[in-house]
C-alpha cells in the first residue's frame, strides 16, 4: 500500500434540524494514497459531496476520525482550521465561485493574499506561469463575468493550486461545462496533479470522468459500496464492471 495521506475511520454524519435527524454517512472507512487521483461516485443523495466536504474540513462529522498527514481533524472547530485549509487544501467546485469584484489574476492570488498579504514579485510571476500553463494568461486582467465557463473553471483550478496545497478537493468540476470543455478541464487537472504531486479527490456522477482516476469509490446510501482500483485492473475492465451491475448493499 502506498503512503496514505488521508485516512477516514468510522466516519458518521447526521444532519440535525430541530427534532428531525437525517443520517447521511454511516460509518465510512477510507484510505487515500498520496499523489493519487480518487473519484467518489454514486447516485444523488448517496453522501459523496458530504464526504468530500467533511474531508475538506468544511463540515464537521458527527463522529469518527479524519486523519490528514497523521493528525486527526475531526471534531475540531472549523474556524480554527481556516489556516490549515488555506495552506494545505485547494477546492474546485461545480460553480466556479470566483469573486466578481476581482480580476482573474487577483482571484487566483486570493488564497495567498489571505495567507500572507499582498504577494511579492516571485509569487506573481509563478502565478503568471501557472496561468500560461493552464491557458488563461490572456484573460488575467478580465473579470469573471467577462470570460467563458471553461475559462472560469480554469481560473478556479489555478486558484486551488496557488498556495501549492497537498490535496485538492473537487466537487463536480466539469458538471457545469459542455463535454468538450469538461474533457479538457479534466485532462488539465490530471496533468497538474501529476506535475505538482498533489492528491486529487473528486466527486463526479460522470462515469467517463471517474474512469480517469486511479481509484473509484462508489457510495450508495451513505455507505461505501465498492472500490475499483483502476491502476491494477485497467479502465476497460472497470468500465465493464460498472456497466454490468448496479451496486447493492
Amino acid at each position: 500500500m502506498a503512503d496514505t495521506i488521508i485516512s477516514v475511520k468510522a466516519l458518521k454524519k447526521t444532519y440535525v434540524n430541530g427534532a428531525l435527524e437525517t443520517p447521511v454517512l454511516f460509518g465510512l472507512d477510507l484510505d487515500i494514497a498520496r499523489n493519487s487521483f480518487t473519484a467518489l461516485i454514486g447516485p444523488s443523495g448517496s453522501g459523496k459531496s458530504t464526504l468530500l466536504n467533511c474531508l475538506g474540513l468544511l463540515e464537521s462529522p458527527t463522529s469518527g476520525s479524519i486523519i490528514i498527514e497523521g493528525r486527526d481533524y475531526a471534531g475540531q472547530e472549523l474556524n480554527s482550521l481556516a489556516a490549515f485549509r488555506n495552506s494545505c487544501i485547494g477546492f474546485v467546485f461545480q460553480f466556479h465561485y470566483l469573486l466578481p469584484e476581482f480580476t482573474c489574476l487577483e482571484n487566483i492570488l486570493m488564497p495567498s493574499w489571505i495567507r500572507a498579504g499582498k504577494p511579492g514579485y516571485d509569487l506573481e510571476s509563478r502565478t503568471l506561469k501557472l496561468m500560461d500553463r493552464i491557458g488563461i494568461l490572456g484573460i488575467k486582467d478580465k473579470y469573471p463575468e467577462q470570460i467563458s465557463g471553461g475559462q472560469q473553471q480554469r481560473v478556479s483550478i489555478a486558484r486551488a493550486l496557488v498556495n501549492k496545497p497537498k490535496i485538492i478537493f473537487a466537487d463536480e468540476p466539469t458538471g457545469n461545462l459542455d463535454t468538450e470543455t469538461g474533457e479538457k478541464v479534466l485532462q488539465l487537472m490530471k496533468e497538474i496533479n501529476a506535475e505538482n504531486n498533489t492528491t486529487l479527490v473528486m466527486v463526479t456522477h460522470d462515469r467517463e470522468v471517474a474512469l480517469k482516476a486511479d481509484l473509484i469509490v462508489e457510495l450508495v446510501d451513505g455507505k461505501i459500496c465498492r472500490y475499483f482500483n483502476i491502476l491494477k485492473k485497467g479502465s476497460a475492465a472497470i468500465a465493464k464492471e460498472l456497466e454490468e451491475r448496479a451496486c447493492k448493499i
Binding site: L58, A82, F91, F95, E101, I114, K118
Partner: protein, 398 residues
C-alpha cells in the same frame, strides 16, 4: 512582508463594485454630517457671539464692598427722623492689596479698580444725570474703549473725560469741548471731552470715563467702589470668583454668570435641543448604514462562503464589513464637512446675519468622530452575520 490587510482590500472592492449602494449611503452620511456640523457651528457661533456681546466688553467678575447695596437699617424701628433711612457704605478701602492678590492669579487676565458714582451735566439749560466711572488704563482696556472710539482719543489725561456716544449726541458734545461736571454734593469740576466712544449697549453709551484719581476725589471716595476683572476663560469666572471669595467677608465677588442666569439657562437649553437633534441624526445615519451593509452581507454570501472555504477566518470576514463601515463613515463625513461649510458660507451671505459660525477644529472633528464611530458600530451587525456564515451552506446551496 507587509502586514496582511487583505480584508481592507476586499472591503474597498466590495464598496467599489456596489457603486450605487455605496454612493447612496455616503450621500446619507454626508447629509447627516453636514446638518450636524452646520447646526453645531451655527449654535456655537451664535452662543459665542451672544456671550461676547454680554461679557466681551464688561467685567467677568466684580469685587464689591460686602454691603454696597443700600439696605434699610432696622426696618420698622426708624424713630429718629434725623438719621438717614439707608446706609450706603460703598467703598473698598484696602483695594490695592486685593488688586495685588488678584493680579497674581494666572487665570485672571485683567484687574481694574473702578470708582463710580452719579454725576450731573448742565448744558443748554438742561440737566442730565450721568454715571461717572473713574478708571485706570486697565479699565479702558476692559471696556474695550480703544476699539469703540468714534472721535478723539481713547486715552485719559488729567483734565479729560471720555463720553458715551448717546450722551454726547444728547448734549451735542464733540472732542475738545469743555463742560462742567457736578456731583451730588453740588461741587463742580471742569472737564474737556477727550473722545467719544460707542460700546454698542444702552447702558455703556451713557457712561462718562474719568481717570481713577480724579473720580475718587470728585466723588469723595477714599478707596474704590469696585475691582473689575476679566478672566482668560469666560466660563471659569464663577469658579474663580468663588475661589477668591473664600475667607473674605468684607468684600463680595459677583461673576457675570450670576448676573446673567437667564441668558445662560437659554443657552444651555438651546445646546441640549441641538444635542438632541444631533443625536437623532447620528442614530438615523447608523440605522441606514446597518441596514445597507446588512443587505450587502446577504448579497455577498457567496463571496464570503468561498473566502471562508479558502481560509478566511470568522474574524476576517467580520473585519471586511467593519472596514466598509469605517470607510463609508470617513468618506461620508469628509463630504459632509464640505457640505456643512458650504451651507455655512451660503447662510452667512444672507442679509441680517450678525453673528459668526464657529468653524473650529472641535466643531469639525466632533461630527466626523461620531459619524465614523457610528458607521463602524453599525457595521458590526452585518459583520456578525458574516462571521457566523458557514461556507458549506453557501457551497451546498449553489
Amino acid at each position: 512582508m507587509a502586514k496582511n490587510n487583505y480584508e481592507l482590500m476586499i472591503a474597498v472592492r466590495f464598496l467599489k463594485k456596489g457603486r450605487a449602494q455605496t454612493l447612496l449611503i455616503i450621500l446619507g452620511i454626508a447629509m447627516g454630517v453636514a446638518v450636524q456640523f452646520f447646526l453645531a457651528s451655527l449654535i456655537s457661533g451664535l452662543q459665542i457671539s451672544l456671550i461676547d456681546k454680554t461679557v466681551g466688553a464688561a467685567p467677568h467678575i466684580s469685587v464689591l464692598p460686602a454691603d454696597s447695596t443700600p439696605e434699610q437699617l432696622s426696618p420698622g424701628v426708624n424713630k429718629d427722623s434725623r438719621k438717614p433711612l439707608y446706609s450706603e457704605k460703598s467703598e473698598i478701602i484696602a483695594w490695592q492689596q486685593y488688586a495685588i492678590d488678584l493680579k497674581a492669579d494666572p487665570l485672571i487676565s485683567l484687574v481694574a479698580p473702578v470708582a463710580s458714582g452719579p454725576g450731573f451735566i448742565e448744558r443748554g439749560g438742561i440737566t442730565v444725570p450721568v454715571v461717572l466711572k473713574g478708571v485706570t488704563a486697565e479699565g479702558l482696556q476692559l471696556y474695550k474703549v480703544k476699539n469703540s472710539i468714534k472721535e478723539g482719543t481713547s486715552e485719559l489725561a488729567g483734565d479729560t473725560a471720555l463720553f458715551g456716544k448717546k450722551l454726547a449726541d444728547k448734549l451735542a458734545l464733540s472732542s475738545g469741548d469743555k463742560i462742567f461736571l457736578r456731583n451730588n454734593r453740588g461741587e463742580q469740576i471742569f472737564v474737556r471731552v477727550g473722545g467719544v466712544f460707542d460700546l454698542g449697549s444702552a447702558a455703556g453709551d451713557e457712561l462718562v470715563f474719568l481717570s481713577l484719581d480724579r473720580a475718587r476725589s470728585f466723588l469723595g471716595i477714599n478707596g474704590v467702589s469696585a475691582i473689575e476683572m476679566q478672566v482668560k476663560n469666560v466660563f471659569s469666572a464663577e469658579k474663580t470668583a468663588r475661589r477668591h471669595a473664600r475667607g473674605l467677608d468684607r468684600v463680595k465677588f459677583v461673576s457675570w454668570q450670576e448676573k446673567n442666569r437667564e441668558l445662560l439657562q437659554a443657552l444651555s437649553s438651546q445646546s441640549s435641543s441641538s444635542n438632541t437633534i444631533q443625536f437623532f441624526v447620528i442614530l438615523s445615519i447608523s440605522l441606514g448604514i446597518a441596514s445597507v451593509l446588512g443587505i450587502a452581507a446577504v448579497q455577498k454570501q457567496r463571496q464570503l462562503g468561498i473566502l471562508k472555504a479558502m481560509g478566511t477566518t470568522n474574524k476576517s470576514a467580520a473585519k471586511i464589513f467593519i472596514f466598509q463601515g469605517f470607510i463609508l463613515g470617513l468618506i461620508g463625513s469628509f463630504l459632509g464637512i464640505l457640505g456643512g461649510l458650504a451651507l455655512g458660507v451660503m447662510f452667512m451671505s444672507l442679509p441680517n446675519i450678525n453673528f459668526g459660525f464657529d468653524f473650529s477644529a472641535g466643531m469639525l472633528l466632533t461630527p466626523v468622530f461620531f459619524a465614523v464611530l457610528a458607521s463602524t458600530i453599525a457595521s458590526t451587525i452585518p459583520a456578525r452575520s458574516a462571521a457566523g456564515l458557514s461556507p458549506i451552506e453557501v457551497i451546498r446551496n449553489g
